[in-house]
């Protein structure tokens, strides 16, 4: 798909994921054993044949930049095209912090102008899904649409989840007739996935026009205002998809990986999900280990009991420990006889001997980075 270039929006400042996103962009949140959220969108682009990708970053970008590096792991360290990262910048005309998605794109208009692909795929970097953008582009061309938005039925999401989404209504021809961003009372069962396809030149015109009008947000200012004047279509995606819009969504999406069907679709597909490699040794289980229904990454050493949980790289679980329904991020340590239930431990957390931490299924207990409990 050399016909399209890709742009990944990593989102503005928010604390949707509480402590987990206070010091890092949501796109950089560790997920599912060894990944960061952005790996999914970035791998989707690469697997769809997109090799010219720009990542628009804004807040807390250090961990994201560290993760993406030169794009080597995604085969995007190229002489021509490849991966480019666009943090905000100051210049005579530039305005510093991006005021919104459209503003971020407008500030990097040169990137769009210098590329030569016919189409642009714009996607957010904090959704978990494995998708080929190829068929979506085909539909975009077939419908002769101005903009195509990937949408998905929301049967498997809760009302609270829906409040964090753009809710879409379509006509029989899949043309979008109504779009409500983060409605307080969501009606309708179709949500925008935050994936857009349009012609590159069309996007450039759109951005120049909105900049003149002072518009800064792609959805609120451009798409919603243009439903009548433009041909905006929905492309219906039927696979697994979760945006990491809340702690609940983050927690459930992680736990969904324990379902073999979802794990296969997301991670074991022939369209692989790539991530930065850490060269950890394979996980080690000592005599006392008892692990059930769990995902365990390289570098872990386990001598306790773990069930229905996700252990990221390099987690230490000592003797007598009991962990259930929890997510433990890189390098966290749980010392002797501690107990965890419904917890999310950020990187480098230490739970000292004998401590008991209990969260709730709806409100898992979050322990922030490098905290010693």
């Amino acid at each position: 798909m050399k016909r399209a270039m890709g742009i990944i929006l990593t989102g503005g400042k928010n604390n949707r994921l509480k402590e987990l996103s206070s010091e890092r962009s949501i796109a950089a949140v560790p997920f599912g054993g060894k990944y960061r959220a952005i790996d999914f969108t970035l791998s989707n682009m690469v697997n769809s044949g997109i090799v010219n990708v720009g990542v628009m970053t804004q807040y807390s970008i250090r961990s994201l930049i560290d993760h993406l590096g030169s794009g080597k792991e995604w085969d995007l360290d190229r002489k021509t095209d490849g991966l480019r990262i666009f943090p905000p910048y100051l210049s005579e005309t530039g305005t510093g912090w991006y005021k919104g998605s459209a503003d971020a794109l407008y500030n990097n208009l040169t990137f769009l102008e210098r590329s030569d692909e016919e189409f642009v795929v714009i996607a957010n970097g904090y959704s978990i899904y494995n998708m080929d953008y190829g068929p979506m582009l085909e539909q975009h061309v077939d419908k002769d649409a101005d903009i195509t938005i990937a949408c998905r039925a929301l049967d498997d999401l809760t009302e609270n989840d829906r409040k964090t989404l753009g809710i879409v209504e379509i006509d029989q021809d899949s043309r979008i007739v109504d779009f409500k961003e983060k409605p307080l009372n969501p009606t309708g069962n179709l949500g925008s996935m935050g994936v857009y396809i349009m012609k590159r030149k069309f996007l450039i015109e759109l951005l120049e026009d909105s900049a003149a009008k002072g518009y800064t947000d792609l959805v609120m200012d451009i798409i919603i205002r243009s439903l009548d004047s433009m041909r905006i279509y929905a492309y219906i995606f039927t696979g697994y998809w979760r945006p990491l819009n809340s702690i609940q969504l983050y927690y459930r999406a992680n736990m969904d990986l324990l379902d073999p069907r979802i794990r296969r679709e997301l991670l074991m597909d022939r369209r692989k999900i790539y991530t930065k490699v850490k060269d950890e040794a394979p996980a080690k289980y000592n005599e006392e280990a008892c692990v059930k229904n769990s995902i365990v990454a390289d570098g872990c050493i386990i001598e306790g009991t773990v069930e229905n949980s996700i252990l990221l790289r390099g987690v230490r679980v000592m003797k007598g420990v009991h962990i259930s329904n929890s997510i433990l991020m890189q390098g966290s340590t749980v010392q002797e006889d501690a107990q965890l239930n419904y917890c999310i431990l950020d990187k480098g957390v230490v739970i000292t001997s004998g401590k008991t931490l209990n969260g709730d299924q709806e409100w898992p207990l979050i322990v922030g980075k490098n905290i010693i409990v």
Binding site: P260, D279, A281, N286, E287, E288, A289, K292, I295, D298
Partner: protein
Amino acid sequence: MARKEIIALLLAGGQGSRLGVLTKNIAKPAVLFGGKYRIIDFTLSNCINSNIDTVGVLTQYQPLKLHSHIGIGKPWDLDRRNGGVTILTPYQRQEKGEWYSGTADAVLQNISYVEELSPKYVIILSGDHIYKMNYSEMLEFHKKKNADATISVIDVPWEEASRYGIMSVTENSKIYEFEEKPGNPKSTLASMGIYIFNWEILKDYLQKDHDNPNSEHDFGKNIIPGMLKDGRKLYAYKFVGYWRDVGTIQAYWESNMNLTERIPEFNLFDPYWRIYTLNPVYPAHFIGETGKVMKSIVAEGCIIHGTVINSVIFPGVTVQEGTVIQDSIIMSDAFIGANTEINCCIIGEGSVVGNSVRIGVGEFAENRYNPKVYNTNITVVGYNTVIPNGTILGRNVVIDNHIIPQDFTSSVIPSGGYLIKGGDEQ
């Protein structure tokens, strides 16, 4: 090109014939080890961890896997503009083309590679051993002693000394005698096959050795004794630590099993001495509701629904429900069916073991195919082989690579039995 102080030449051309079917189609340095690595990874990682960033890898025997594994050296950060990894295979010359006839000959044939870099020192390594060693400390020793050559040695038990090249040294570590596999060893300092030479001196000796029709062109047998005879300053650098030649089935199995100990002698978890390898693209592994893993190491991409005890499981292995694996090594992407029992076995990469199979049943019996290679309790199943449902294999059995169910004439192969396809094995 900036001149390098030291470059490494890694001899990776050996077959390692005592690993049987495991090295029938791939060179020994490319054999999988330790849950995700290949044997050569340890030496390559030692190089980069010792700040040696220029490595020539000399290959000859079945090099395909080795070449694709090393690639341009990315996993070891050896993809460099100046230096990095270079694969050196035997090549055709104007007058004739020749295979490497010995370790010294292999280096001689690549003299132009070294000359172009014109290093002051050359370190000769082999890709056959499991160990962590800081070569830069050995180089310091070499420089301090103002040596012409330094040989790394390790203390071995007296009873094993006759298997090695044995050094006799003065108090000052100067070597005054060297015997290759002596009947009556005079010391327990064994050569590890790691040499640092001053390149200008080595070049001379290689040339002389080349012109000697009686030479076997081997470092241990010819070059070192030759230098000693000429009164060159040879020093022994004593290495203390874990060092294993995993050249036999038993040694290979034991060395892997060592890693499942609570505190293994050889620690893969050392953040200051990482072992790098080409990482497969797999998600973290999954242990199912019925899975049980104890005293084992398990790599990425595995799906475990059965019981795994005291075993080493490589990436992408599936173990179905009701199956028990014990004291075994299961290599990458193998699939183990349901209700199967595997005891003391090595299962090759990409192989499939059916349902209700039993491997490692009964008592030891001498192998009827090649008792020199297969002489332990361990049953070896080669690469990309299919063991059909209900098969029973005894101990010390060997099953070839690329076996399909139709190749089995009986569902029972008792201890010491074999299933080998006609082919090029000895």
